[in-house]
């Protein structure tokens, strides 16, 4: 009830209509999310369930603050589109090709068999064949949004079940297109033609031209991504206006969505394709981190609208019947998938997770129901029922995964299934070392690591540097390493070492802070301008610092000594000795930090030491410091 009170001003605005409308809605949705999601996460249920619950609370079944959600949902579906773009970005074309057996085989059989089984069951409960097939196809599709969000939240995205689930989802996303095209064929002949035409703007054209338009669109996305995207992003990046880069990223995704919609293809599929094309681009990490928040918000909104759209009136009317249908759906989908995983010789533990995670109906289901209703394939109550079953099955997924995680998987781990192993496809590149800043300094360090067979990822803010180095085959990406999202996208969570080599002192301190705050496990090695900055960096949690002045300056000092006639080995030793003295001084100053008296004392002491050291280095009388290979004492002794 406190919830209802808290959002009263917003609710009033909603009721009144007018310019405050949108903000009022935003307040309701945001507040619901901010309250429900942390609660759900706190009790271990995951964010998807939290969003769904928030939707139920603010929807017609709860306090009813949002009214009709269908338009908001339409908007929120854009989150799914963005998600697929981001997934595409993570997936190089080669990785996609390696997945082809899973996508076509596992995905194809899953959709085909599930649709047939559900159609059969529908006919068994009294539906005629055509609507039964439509419902079968509708329910065969799973929820990309829920599955991928849940997978990534549980860290399963890169696991064997995660990758297989993704393959199946990919097939489903592709399958939506022919299914949408086929639905009119299932309609009564008189109703079909007109409604089918509304799906695309080119439907009136002859079939040959339609095919040409579709092919042309796909070609345009691939070529555009290859040829136009880089100059565009480079031009935008060189303005150094971050919001402009975000705007460009959004522009690309929105543009492709609309283009795909225009020719009647799935927007999700189009942006996915665009993502794959851009996966090799140097702006990949920056794109990921820019779109990530939008995607997250829109997906959250999407889940809330799913929660709000569940028709609880229908559920409460025949609770046993609806629950039975949900169970049947989950059982049939899960059962068929599990059977397929046995056929694919996938271990039982992986198979079980895979079957459960894909057992729900999906957002494309809502779309197909809406289209079927337009085509009048089945009546209104049936449509409501299917929608309710899909929504409830989505809500059931996080619960099923909890069951899987806490009850089923521990059993597999104990059982004889454990040693059974699957041939994993190669995971996405996760280099152990990330280098921020790739000027001459960073390049020296980075190339040395590469020469020693260590894989690196490089982040740099200068588009010119990025271009040049990419031409030389270095894994360099454009982006600001102080941003948590970019750090995440670059794989900081899995990195062993973070190297800071930027030449701006303030920037490197900010990077150190960001890395340490978000990734406490990773070791940080940083370039430092001077002793003072080294202190600050260490205060930010940097493990090791290397002073610029020392590195370049000492080598210059050595070269100077040699030029003055010192033997090279003598000059080398002189440099090393001075360097060690400097290092010790730094350490002592660091320990004395915060105590001005002690700092002054140390500084004076070390200066005096250095004076003596330097005197000893020259050919003075005092040879106590460096009498290495000196024969004068022995000669004295010999003469006595």
């Amino acid at each position: 009830m406190t919830l209802a009170l808290a959002i009263e001003p917003g609710a009033a605005a909603v009721a009144a209509g007018g310019p405050a409308d949108a903000l009022g809605y935003a307040l309701v949705y945001l507040l619901a999310a901010v309250v429900a999601v942390p609660l759900a996460k706190r009790i271990g249920m995951g964010s998807v369930l939290g969003y769904l619950a928030a939707g139920v609370v603010i929807g017609p079944a709860g306090v009813d603050l949002v009214g009709d959600t269908s338009e908001v949902m339409h908007f929120a579906e854009f989150g799914v589109v963005m998600m697929l773009f981001l997934i595409g970005l993570e997936l190089r074309p080669r990785a996609l090709w390696e997945m082809r057996s899973d996508v076509l085989g596992l995905g194809g059989l899953q959709v085909g068999l599930t649709a047939a089984a559900i159609a059969g069951l529908s006919m068994a409960v009294g539906l005629t064949p055509l609507p039964a097939v439509a419902i079968g196809l509708t329910l065969a599709l799973s929820s990309t949004a829920i599955v991928l969000q849940t997978l990534s939240e549980r860290g399963l995205s890169d696991s064997p079940p995660g990758r297989r689930a993704f393959s199946v989802l990919l097939f489903q996303d592709i399958a939506v297109i022919p299914i949408l095209a086929a639905l009119p064929l299932l309609a009564a002949p008189d109703a079909g033609a007109e409604a089918g035409a509304s799906a695309s703007h080119i439907a009136d054209l002859p079939a040959g031209l339609q095919a040409a338009a579709i092919l042309g669109t796909i070609l345009a996305i691939v070529l555009g991504g290859r040829l136009l995207a880089r100059p565009l992003f480079r031009a935008v990046a060189s303005t150094h206006l971050r919001e402009l880069f975000s705007a460009t990223a959004l522009l690309v995704v929105v543009g492709i969505s609309l283009l795909m919609g225009f020719v009647g293809l799935s927007a999700a599929l189009g942006t996915f394709l665009a993502g794959v094309v851009l996966a090799e681009s140097e702006y990949r990490h920056e794109l990921e981190s820019d779109l990530e928040p939008f995607k997250g918000l829109l997906l959250g909104l999407f889940f809330i609208t799913v929660g709000a759209s569940i028709d609880f009136g229908l559920v409460f009317e025949r609770p046993a019947f609806v629950c039975g249908l949900v169970l049947a759906l989950v059982g049939v989908k899960g059962g068929i998938l599990f059977g397929l995983t046995r056929l694919w010789k996938i271990p039982k533990a992986t198979g079980t997770t895979l079957a459960l995670i894909l057992s729900q109906g999906g957002e494309f289901g809502f779309v197909l129901v809406a289209t079927s209703r337009t085509l009048d394939i089945y009546d209104e109550p049936t449509g409501m029922l299917v929608t309710a079953v899909v929504a409830l099955s989505m809500a059931a997924t996080p619960l099923l995964l909890l069951l899987d995680e806490h009850v089923l998987q521990p059993r597999f781990a104990k059982g004889s299934d454990a040693p059974e192993r699957e041939d994993d496809m190669p995971a996405d590149r996760k280099p152990p070392v990330i280098i921020a800043g790739f000027g001459r300094y960073g390049q020296a360090a980075g190339r040395m690591l590469v020469a020693n067979g260590i894989d690196i990822t490089v982040l740099d803010l200068d588009p010119g540097t990025v271009d040049l180095l990419r031409e030389h085959g270095m894994p360099v990406y454009y982006g600001d390493a102080t941003r948590p999202a970019l750090l995440h996208a670059a794989g900081c969570a899995d990195a062993k070492l973070f190297v800071i080599a930027t030449d701006s002192t303030t920037h490197s301190i900010r990077i150190a802070g960001a890395v340490r705050q978000h990734h406490p496990h990773v070791k940080i090695v940083s370039r430092a301008y001077d002793v003072r900055q080294a202190h600050i960096l260490r205060g930010e949690g940097v493990d090791e610092t290397v002073c610029d002045v020392n590195g370049g300056g000492l080598a210059l000092g050595r070269a100077s000594l040699i030029a003055l006639g010192y033997d090279p080995y003598r000059a080398e030793r002189a440099m090393k000795r001075f360097e060690r003295h400097e290092g010790e001084t730094q350490r002592m100053l660091f320990e004395a930090l915060g105590d001005p008296t002690r700092t002054l004392q140390v500084a004076r002491q070390r200066t005096a030491d250095l004076g003596r050291l330097l005197e000893a280095d020259s050919e003075s009388e005092d040879t106590t410091r460096d009498s290495a290979w000196s024969t004068s004492a022995a000669i004295e002794a010999a003469r006595d």
């Binding site: 090279p568 000196s630 024969t631």
Partner: protein, 203 residues
């Protein structure tokens, strides 16, 4: 054509050297002698193995010139042996790159000659101390020539050192002479070898 001689100099502080600096300066003037100052060439101890092996291949006689530190060579020459005299290059199967070549030690010691005998305070003769070098040469299929040794360098005056350097120079000239039979040098020390034969060879 003189016999090619590679002189590997190992002295970590030439700026403090009285003897080795003068000796090596004398050697530099000899036709056929190539000097490689190891501490100067590899001040960071990163010895370039391929470069050194190529040098070895080009020369017939290798001279280790160094002060006698702790009854052995300065550390860089040991590093040189450890790295350059590789298995498969200098010894072991196929390791015949040095077969038939000769090795000679040219050493300065602070202690007097009397110190290097069973009754002296170093207990052992120089020949015994040099056994590791002799056997290293043996394992590499090289002939180990009698050593050139300057004892009691702390007591030597600059004029005496200059005289020794002159001797050293003449020895190297003899060794560089292709008519000198390296397999037939029946002497305990190389010292004085050049002066003895100077007339016969006829410079």
């Amino acid at each position: 054509m003189p016999r090619p001689i590679l002189l590997l100099l190992a002295h970590p502080a030439l700026h403090r050297s009285r003897v080795n600096r003068v000796l090596v300066d004398a050697a530099r003037g000899v036709d056929g002698v190539r000097v490689c100052d190891l501490y100067r060439t590899y001040p960071d101890f990163q010895i370039d193995v391929a470069e050194q092996q190529a040098l070895l291949a080009e020369h017939e006689l290798i001279v280790f010139q160094h002060p006698f530190f702790w009854y052995s060579s300065p550390s860089i020459l040991k590093e040189w042996q450890d790295l350059v005299l590789q298995f498969g290059f200098a010894y072991g199967p196929g390791g015949d790159a040095l077969h038939g070549k000769s090795l000679m030690s040219a050493i300065s010691t602070g202690g007097a000659e009397e110190a290097y005998c069973s009754k002296g305070h170093n207990q052992f003769t120089m020949e015994k101390f040099l056994r590791p070098f002799e056997q290293t040469a043996g394992l590499c299929g090289m002939r180990y020539l009698p050593p050139f040794i300057l004892h009691g360098t702390h007591r030597l005056s600059d004029i005496e050192i200059a005289g020794e350097a002159q001797d050293y120079r003449q020895i190297l000239e003899q060794l560089a002479n292709p008519r000198t039979d390296l397999g037939n040098l029946r002497r305990e020390r190389m010292n004085g070898f050049g002066a003895g034969l100077a007339g016969e060879v006829g410079r």
